[in-house]
């Protein structure tokens, strides 16, 4: 019995190879079906995301199956042997469990702490259950994995702070405004980053968006994307009092927003708080605006610095997460090792129960003379004697399995009690 994990991720394989692999899994032939055909594999999970392709399998036999798994990946992605060798990793047993825990906890992700991967692992498991490719071991392992991922998320700060500029902007807006529902945002100029920030803000509840551009046509085009209202730059000063958040990224050489304009806008909006983000180089918003009460001004460097700091925090938190994972691996492998002796215990119990049932039946004749009450008592005595006798050997067997030395005891038990697993 062995757990094995074969796969490649963004660290080991270049995009082109990952691409070919994950493309082929969209084809009608579900990889799980093929995996199940490999005879040594008794359970399998197939996980494919844009950053990784992994197969987790439970092999009946320690030795066989690995080459078949590699071959499966080789043929599945139309890879050459050379390519395969350089990117593939193979983990066994505790290492495989550790890798799975790390993946689900987002420690192995390109952006550490990102939340999507857990959902992807859950989807992979759902598919695995659908195709009946999971059994007792993978079921237990995956549920344990989800628990570990949750523990890591709640007990460490790995996902706490924003690690992209646009998320950092959203986090700041929340710190200022609380809920963003009902807030409005003004996007000045076009640019990938400002669009992204605007989208994140809208995803977090901002429901009104004004798009300003030097050329009105561009404003209209962008506004259509966001279902926002377009304005020309000439209306900027007038509209400024209507918005809570400003994102500016024009290519203008001078300042587009001056302190005077902001002060006047604030007066008109009765000093309601404003959050301004200047992602343009050279800057669009006069830095003096940041000194005005009730206005919070951040430029691209400020945001980047926050992101860098947060990344450092995440790396520190990741160490805590590794400790949690190490703890959990021990719990899981303990369970796994008791699993070895479970069939023996089950058949031992069954044999004892059969004996009790047989003896009671044979004694049926004289037991007829007893009252119902006494008959029940006899049955209880019989089974409690048997349970007492079996109790010590069973606990000892479990203890030995935790130390990893159960094999000779299992063999002895089978010989002495004449047990067979297939009874």
């Amino acid at each position: 019995m062995s757990i094995i994990l074969v796969g490649m991720n963004h660290k080991t394989a270049p995009l082109t190879i990952r691409e070919r692999l994950s493309l082929s899994c969209d084809s009608a032939d579900v990889p799980l079906r093929k995996l199940k055909q490999i005879s040594q594999i008794s359970e399998a999970l197939y996980l494919a995301t844009c950053n990784r392709v992994e197969v987790l399998a439970h092999l009946e036999d320690r030795e066989g199956g690995v080459e078949e798994l590699k071959k499966f990946i080789l043929s599945h992605g139309n890879l050459s042997l050379e390519e395969l060798r350089s990117c593939l990793y193979v983990y066994r047993d505790d290492d495989a469990v550790r890798h799975l825990f790390r993946v689900a906890s987002s420690l192995d992700s390109m952006i550490m702490g990102e939340p999507q991967i857990l959902g992807q692992v859950k989807d992979a498991y759902r598919q695995c259950v659908e195709y009946k490719a999971s059994g007792i071991i993978l079921n237990k392992l995956l549920h344990h994995t989800f628990r570990v991922a949750k523990r890591v998320r709640t007990e460490t700060g790995i996902a706490n702070n924003a690690v992209s500029v646009s998320f950092a902007a959203v986090a700041l807006a929340k710190k200022i405004f609380g809920f963003l529902a009902g807030k409005s945002v003004l996007v000045i100029g076009a640019g990938e980053m400002s669009e992204l920030a605007a989208r994140h803000l809208m995803a977090n509840g901002v429901n009104r968006i004004i798009v300003a551009n030097r050329t009105y046509e561009n404003a209209v085009r962008l506004a259509n994307d966001f279902h926002g209202e377009p304005i020309g730059l000439d209306l900027l000063d007038e509209k400024l009092n209507e918005v809570d958040i400003v994102i500016s990224s024009t290519a203008a050489p001078g300042y587009v927003i001056t302190p005077e304009v902001v002060v006047s806008a604030l007066r008109r909006r009765k000093n309601r708080l404003m959050f301004m983000i200047d992602i343009a180089v050279p800057r669009d918003i006069d830095p003096a605006v940041g000194d005005i009460d009730n206005v919070y001004l951040y430029n691209i460097d400020n945001l980047q610095e926050i992101v860098d700091d947060n990344m450092k925090v995440r790396l520190k938190e990741a160490e805590k997460a590794e400790t949690i994972i190490t703890e959990e691996i021990i719990i899981f492998s303990n369970w796994l090792s008791t699993l070895e002796v479970v069939p023996t215990i089950v058949s031992l119990r069954r044999k004892a129960e059969d004996i009790i049932a047989g003896e009671l039946e044979r004694s049926g004749a004289w037991m007829k003379n007893l009252s119902d009450d006494d008959r029940d008592k006899v049955k209880i005595i019989a089974s409690s004697i048997v349970n007492k006798i079996l109790h010590d050997p069973i606990t000892s067997l479990k203890e030995e399995s935790l130390n990893g030395g159960a094999d000779p005891y299992v063999a002895a038990m089978m010989r002495l009690f004449k047990l067979g697993h297939d009874e």
């Binding site: 708080l273 009460d293 700091d309």
Partner: protein, 273 residues
């Protein structure tokens, strides 16, 4: 019976204080949630304690300085709980709960609550009760406004420093803090005003005049004027944020000097027992 209620209230305040502080240290929301419930029970228990004392004595039990302080502690926790239902600002509880615990504990440690209440008859009237209780609830609201104001200044400062501070995550958003500050002053001001009016009506019957130029009266009046000004600026001019927060902190400081400081350190006709 009385003391059992009091002690269980004190224990509940203590437990909720520990819960709030622990929730900040280990960053767990469920602990703060539990602490909020415990605080709720503490509030009910202490409320029951006040009621029992009131019924037993036949007049308002809020007379001594210590009674007043513990009453403020109780009122603050009640006001905070009311806010907690509207806005999710549990971190405020980690200030309110220890504060209430400390005030009530101080009152019991000084023996103020156990001592038999021997009151001159002039202090047993309804006007005195109305005066003290209205003014104290007003002061409790101002205290909470001051707390929110301090937190506002800290959070504002952290955001302006443009660094990633994990401490800042613990503080509520600026807008919520500003609203708490505003609402507390909006309610506290009329209560304090009514309290002052009730007091002056009573003073007329006892001292013969509404106004004595007593240091406590003067101090209270100064902070009343400050709060009136702040409220006007907020409602008419649209003051918000830092300026309003700062102002509410200063006004509360003066109010505290008038209410407690004057009692302790200067000669005042406004001290009775």
């Amino acid at each position: 019976m009385e003391m059992i209620i009091f002690k269980s209230a004190l224990i509940a305040y203590f437990v909720s204080t520990v819960g709030y502080i622990a929730s900040i240290l280990v960053r767990r929301v469920f602990m703060a949630k539990a602490a909020t419930w415990v605080l709720f029970f503490a509030f009910i228990l202490y409320g029951a304690f006040i009621a029992v004392r009131w019924v037993k004595a036949g007049y308002s039990p809020v007379v001594h300085l210590h009674d007043s302080l513990s009453f403020i502690g109780w009122a603050i926790s009640g006001i905070y709980l009311a806010f907690q239902m509207k806005t999710k600002t549990r971190v405020l509880g980690s200030i309110v709960s220890p504060l209430a615990f400390f005030l009530i504990m101080e009152a019991s440690a000084s023996g103020g609550l156990v001592r038999e209440m021997i009151l001159p008859d002039i202090l047993k009237g309804w006007w005195v009760s109305a005066h003290t209780i209205l003014a104290l609830i007003g002061e409790a609201l101002f205290a909470l406004a001051c707390c929110a104001g301090i937190m506002y200044l800290i959070q504002d400062n952290l955001i302006r420093k443009k660094k990633s501070y994990s401490f800042s995550r613990l503080l509520p958003p600026l807008r919520d803090l500003d609203r708490i500050n505003h609402i507390c002053i909006l309610w506290g001001f009329p209560l304090l005003t009514l309290g002052i009016i009730a007091g002056s009506i009573w003073a007329r019957t006892v001292w013969g005049s509404h106004w004595q130029w007593d240091p406590k009266q003067v101090g209270t009046m100064i902070s009343w004027i400050l709060y009136a000004f702040l409220l006007h600026q907020r409602l008419a001019i649209g003051w918000k944020g830092r300026k309003a927060a700062l102002f509410s902190i200063v006004a509360f400081g003066i109010l505290m000097v008038a209410v407690i400081g004057v009692n302790l350190f200067s000669v005042t006709v406004h001290r009775f027992v």
